[in-house]
């Protein structure tokens, strides 16, 4: 299924898969992968800390985050990347009710990115 999604959306969407939210153990490295400019990195931290009620810093070891927290971080990074269109796959089912509500409200309120959602985790492999 992922290969099909890449074929369909890969040319103009940043594909964010909740099954594999982060690649590295370091927030600084994830920032590099998403090409987030240094002057915007504090915005990533602010939004993440606001959504997650945590106090994550730039040098954090993100392997210590829980599954849901990793997904939230992936989304926040994607929102601050240069991509104009995001495809979010299986992101909500791993979040508790409060975080799901906060995230949905935030995503609905933002107008900068075009966001599509796919929730079909049983077939996402």
């Amino acid at each position: 299924m992922m290969i099909k999604l890449c074929e369909l959306y890969g040319s103009d969407y940043l594909i964010c898969d909740g099954s594999n939210p982060l690649i590295t153990d370091s927030l600084a490295e994830e920032m590099l992968l998403y090409h987030i400019d240094v002057q915007f990195q504090w915005q990533v931290l602010n939004l993440y800390n606001q959504l997650c009620a945590r106090n994550l810093c730039h040098s954090a070891n993100i392997s210590a985050l829980s599954g849901g927290q990793k997904i939230l971080l992936m989304i926040v990074l994607a929102l601050h990347s240069r991509a104009k269109k995001l495809l979010l796959i299986n992101v909500f089912e791993h979040l508790d009710a409060d975080k799901k509500k906060s995230l949905k409200a935030y995503l609905d309120s933002q107008t900068i990115k075009t966001i599509r959602y796919i929730d079909d985790s049983a077939k996402s492999f």
Binding site: S19, A64, S66, G67, E93, L95, D96, K99, F125
Partner: protein
Amino acid sequence: MILLNPFEIDIYPDFTLKSKDTLCFASSQYYRLVGSNGSGKSSFFRKVLLPHLIGRKVPFLYFDQQFNRQIHCLKAALAVTKKEFSINDFSSATQYLLQSYHDNLHQSGVIVVDENPCLSQIIANINSLDYPMTVLFISHRPEDEIYVNHEAICESISETVSCVRMV
């Protein structure tokens, strides 16, 4: 019956998982761990429960939160052993794991499920067995609420994690 002695484990520098009480998980019971993201549910499985089961040689089947990684391992194992079983998705991988457990062990044990979309398939499979299994699972999916009814008993595991037992 699984009895976990009181514990206190540092998960990461600013987070400790601890229980002052002995925790008891009975055979033929289903338990759902409840808590917000980052409260320590998966850490309880990985750092407390699974080491306990391994140390006491209790048979168990663990469905990891990132189950897709387990599927890659299963496919590699199947390729080496040349067993004829096609794993294409979560459902077929789940079926293979359950079938392997029953074929090789055929005895009571523990099923640990950390946010697997095939939870209903797992529970249906376990319900058909002629030996008791203890099930502990985590799920934030609304559709999995049906596995915990209104008479469920809620007990504290730690300050941030609770356990709901199905009755």
